[in-house]
């Protein structure tokens, strides 16, 4: 009998294919995943399929209603809303898509470490986390953005930093559940180092929680990004972005609601999709997401 390295490690984490199958088997998972995939595909291919130039203004076609040529009408500069809605999620998905894994990774690592070390250090550091979380996020974020400027290279680290902090708390709580179990004591009694215990004993058992947490963080981060754009601190015009589009069109909402409705539907469907997927994922992995994180 031969044992290959592959066959030994494949089981350490819940096999991804099996989890996906479980997610899709639930109605919420099937709907949610469809929505998320649709958005991801559109974000990839939209530049190739859009019919109009997103920045081409037309002064004779301002705020016209939906018709066969312009499915969602035009905005106050005569630009095609449908084109801009299709393209408007690209920036958001790029920034949050990069920032989310970073947030979950560093927050997760620190959370597991704090949970393992415990004692007074953990106690003191967690009070800092609490203090930090007690401030409104938008204020903290605006301070950083105003200091360092907008742009992707500032937004990604900013979002990754702010959204990693609540992950510390989640990972620490999950670690506390695992740490009470005898296999961790067994590893300590054998004399394994702290890093080995984190990597081999704790991480595989905390990872499920972190995955679900990551999905939730992603949807919150999308909302935060759109809010920043709405306030004018995210994407700069004329680049199409949902938050920015809502901000631009909200003045004409009473007589040209399509300008707001388009991006709102796009943004909500993505966030609902992510939330439904996260829900189904939590159920598939057997984690009860009863307690939602603050922020």
């Amino acid at each position: 009998m031969t044992i290959t390295a592959g066959s030994r490690t494949q089981n350490r984490f819940t096999p991804i294919v099996q989890v996906l199958r479980d997610v899709v088997a639930r109605p919420s998972g099937a709907i949610g995943l469809t929505l998320v995939c649709l958005h991801l595909i559109l974000a990839l291919i939209s530049p190739m399929i859009v019919a109009y130039d997103y920045k081409a203004t037309n002064s004779s076609m301002m705020l016209t209603g939906p018709d066969a040529a312009h499915w969602l009408g035009t905005d106050h500069l005569g630009r095609d809303v449908f084109t801009r809605v299709l393209l408007g999620g690209r920036e958001a998905l790029l920034v949050t898509g990069v920032a989310t894994p970073i947030a979950v990774t560093w927050g997760g690592f620190l959370g597991i470490l704090f949970g393992l070390v415990g004692g007074r250090i953990d106690e003191v550091l967690m009070r800092f986390v609490d203090a930090f979380l007690s401030l409104p996020w938008i204020l903290k974020m605006l301070v950083l953005i105003v200091t360092f400027g907008t742009g992707v290279e500032v937004l990604i680290p900013t979002l990754a930093f702010f959204y990693g902090i609540p992950v510390i708390r989640i990972a620490r709580a999950a670690t506390h559940d695992v740490i009470a179990r005898d296999f961790v004591s067994a590893a300590r009694a054998r004399g394994h180092g702290r890093m080995t215990i984190i990597w081999r004993e704790l991480l595989p058992n905390v990872l499920d929680t972190l995955m679900v947490e990551g999905a939730m963080r992603w949807s919150w981060m999308l909302l935060a990004f759109s809010s920043l754009s709405f306030l004018g601190f995210g994407v700069s015009p004329p680049t199409p972005d949902w938050g920015l589009m809502i901000a631009d069109a909200r003045g004409f909402m009473s007589f040209a609601p399509w300008g707001v409705l388009g991006p709102v539907i796009a943004l909500s469907s993505l966030i609902i999709g992510i939330n439904l997927t996260a829900d189904a994922l939590a159920k598939a992995l057997g984690i009860d997401r009863a307690q939602k994180a603050p922020v």
Binding site: N11, A186, R190, G191
Partner: protein
């Protein structure tokens, strides 16, 4: 039967498996219980015994469905009942006492309020009388100072007291029938014996019918008139307690009895190999065929019916006459003998352990810790190749001592030395790799001690990589070798713990400990989470490993018979202090210390003719007294003032048998003999 209360007819209960097929948990079970009768249902985990008992209430766990048959209680069909009808019967005429009362009592309500609630729902009393009735009920279950207990919250009571309160609650509705689902599992031996006596008296006084579910044949022997043995969802034997426990006519029942370690046995119990079929896994033949010593051609192809034999029992076996030839008592391996002059492998010198360290606030104020040490004054030397048993009730500090030896809980004071006086560092972080390797710990519950995300190969690779730096082919060969030593095949290497049975998991845990090639192995209740038939196999394995490698064991268990089976020497602990230590033959045959006497007297044998000897009340103490003898408050042979103030001296006899008591050993033996004759 004239006065049948519960009448279960031919019920089959099952659930839908993943493939959509219906998998039965109970198959064609009949059960009739008459007024005043107490019936025991025994079987291993998964045999369907709890499902059967709950079905008698018209209740099935989520996912289970009644596929066939009927359940009637006093002539009314329980599965046809309306919800209000069921609510009236349940808790009223038919009461359930669950396994873990600590969890079934509402934590935020006082005991009194909970009993009064039961009275309000199920009694005809006027509200003015509730208080008095509740006090009366608590008195009936022999709780001291019922008025005080009324005002307590569940967490302020001990496990035994919680169980008593639950019984009082069940009695509030004046039930005719009691269903008991493992009511004493998890309680200390002395507490268990007292609760069983209480249940027996209550059932007799009120002429109640009782259905008592347990895996513990000792408990069944105390309270039941009739016993039903369940196997893989079927009744395989149904007879009087005496018939079933003394001369069972079914091979499974005989195997089960032989696998129970007993105090009188010189041999290890015999393991019942294999495991029961999973639901739906039984073939067309007898469900026990794969584990049966008598299995013949016919057993594989034809399912035996439950039929009556000449002596009156109902049995599901074609060859029940032959079954009577199977041995009933432990005739397993002989425990390895060890010379008493073996060089020391582990020495505990004046070990003292405290869970309470002074808090930040106390230190700030310069206060000293006022807590009495959890474990104190432990002085034991274990010889090489010897097995030292540590026994005591919960809270006696036996597991704490093991954790300390393993370095997980550094002692407050005292020393731990290996062979040739090499001192072990108190904390695991400061120990050398060699010291770490030489002491290994095996935990109680393998579900908890094996990482669910690691395969068996990864689990075994951890010590092999860490201590021996093995890798590649060498690692694989060695892993396979070790697996073989715990009697598991190489094909187990790729499995995850969830794909193993309880016994297999514990073997993997044992294999992991032995992979380090240790000198001292600390066993913390290693068989407590296992079924008896599996327990016997694990004991046998530990004995074989000791024979082969000359390992020294420190074996902790609350089960005195299990400790007896394996130990050369035994140490009795009470409240973290040693009471008695000596060769196990001697301690078990003539327990001299009053506590050892109480403890051994409470052990239940699976024999209706052996009654436990209950000396004192089962008062539970939460902390040791500040001075004097730790057993002063419960001791039946207390001398007086001296026991409260002076730490008792060691009284020694030959063979290293010693007790800690103000009485001499001879004096105690004389007192015991007087009691015996009186």
């Amino acid at each position: 039967m004239t006065n049948t209360v519960i009448d279960i007819k031919d019920i089959t209960v099952g659930f839908s498996g993943k493939s959509g097929a219906i998998l039965p948990v109970l198959r064609n079970v009949d059960l009739a219980v008459a007024q005043g009768e107490s019936i025991g249902i025994v079987g291993e985990s998964g045999s369907g015994k709890s499902t059967l008992a709950l079905a008698a209430m018209g209740y099935l766990k989520r996912g289970l469905r009644l596929l066939n048959g009927s359940v009637s209680f006093r002539g009314e069909d329980m599965f046809e009942q309306s919800r209000p009808g069921l609510e009236k019967i349940r808790g009223g005429e038919l009461a359930l006492i669950p396994q873990n009362s600590g969890q079934s009592l509402t934590p935020t309500l006082r005991i009194g309020a909970q009993i009064i609630e039961a009275l309000r729902l199920h009694s005809a009393l006027s509200p003015a009388d509730y208080q008095a009735k509740a006090v009366e009920l608590l008195g009936q279950v022999r709780l001291p100072e019922p008025e005080t207990i009324m005002a307590r919250f569940p967490h302020e009571l001990s496990g035994g007291q919680q169980q008593r309160a639950a019984i009082a609650m069940a009695l509030a509705g004046e039930p005719h029938t009691l269903l008991l689902d493992e009511p004493t599992t998890g309680l200390d031996v002395t507490t268990q014996a007292h609760i069983l006596e209480l249940l027996r008296d209550i059932a007799q006084e009120r002429s109640m019918a009782m259905v008592y579910v347990s895996h513990d044949l000792g408990a069944i022997a105390r309270v039941c008139d009739r016993v039903i043995v369940m196997y893989a969802g079927e009744v395989v034997l149904d007879g009087t307690t005496r018939q079933v426990l003394k001369s069972p006519v079914h091979p499974y029942a005989r195997g089960l009895l032989a696998s129970i370690p007993r105090l009188a046995d010189q041999h290890l119990p015999v393991a019942l190999d294999g495991r029961p079929p999973a639901p739906g896994g039984a073939g067309q033949g007898c469900s026990f065929v794969d584990r049966c010593a008598l299995a013949k051609e016919r057993c594989h192809v034809e399912r035996p019916e439950l039929s009556q034999v000449d002596s009156g029992e109902l049995v599901r076996c074609f060859y029940s006459e032959e079954a009577q030839a199977l041995s009933l008592v432990g005739a397993g391996g002989v425990p390895v003998e060890v010379k008493s002059d073996a060089p020391p492998a582990l020495t505990l010198g004046d070990l003292s352990i405290s869970y309470h360290s002074p808090g930040l606030f106390d230190r700030f104020l310069g206060r000293q810790s006022i807590h009495v040490a959890t474990v104190d004054d432990i002085d034991i030397t274990v010889g090489r190749g010897e097995t030292l048993g540590l026994v005591g009730e919960s809270g006696s500090g036996k597991s704490t001592i093991l954790k300390s030896i393993a370095g997980l809980l550094p002692p407050a004071d005292g020393s731990i030395e290996m062979a040739e006086g090499e001192a072990l560092a108190p904390a695991v972080e400061n120990r050398s790799p060699d010291h770490l390797r030489r002491v290994q710990l095996i935990f109680q519950n393998p579900d908890d001690s094996l990482n669910p995300r690691h395969t068996v190969a990864e689990i075994l690779a951890q010590p092999l990589k860490l201590y021996f730096g093995l890798s590649g082919a060498e690692l694989n060969t060695r892993s396979a070798e070790i697996l073989d030593r715990v009697r598991l095949g190489v094909h187990y290497l790729d499995r995850l713990p969830s794909q193993l049975s309880g016994g297999e998991k514990q073997r993997v845990a044992i294999a992991r400990a032995f992979a380090a090639d240790p000198e001292v192995v600390l066993c913390d209740e290693v068989t407590s989470a296992l079924d008896v038939s599996v327990q016997a196999a694990v004991l046998d394995l530990l004995n074989a490993l000791k024979e082969r490698q000359g390992t020294t064991y420190v074996f902790v268990s609350h089960d005195l018979a299990v400790v007896k089976a394996l130990s050369d020497r035994v140490a009795v602990l009470y409240q973290g202090r040693l009471c008695e230590i000596g060769p196990s033959e001697q301690v078990y045959a003539t327990p001299s210390h009053p506590y050892s006497e109480v403890l051994l007297g409470a052990v239940l044998e699976p024999d209706p003719d052996v009654a436990p000897n209950l000396a004192t009340d089962d008062v539970v103490e939460s902390s040791p007294p500040a001075q004097g003898c730790p057993f002063q408050r419960r001791c039946p042979r207390k001398i007086g003032q001296i026991c409260d103030t002076d730490t008792p001296p060691w009284q020694e006899t030959t063979n290293g048998h010693a007790i800690r008591c103000h009485h001499g050993i001879d004096e105690l033996m004389r007192l015991q003999a007087e009691d015996g004759s009186a």
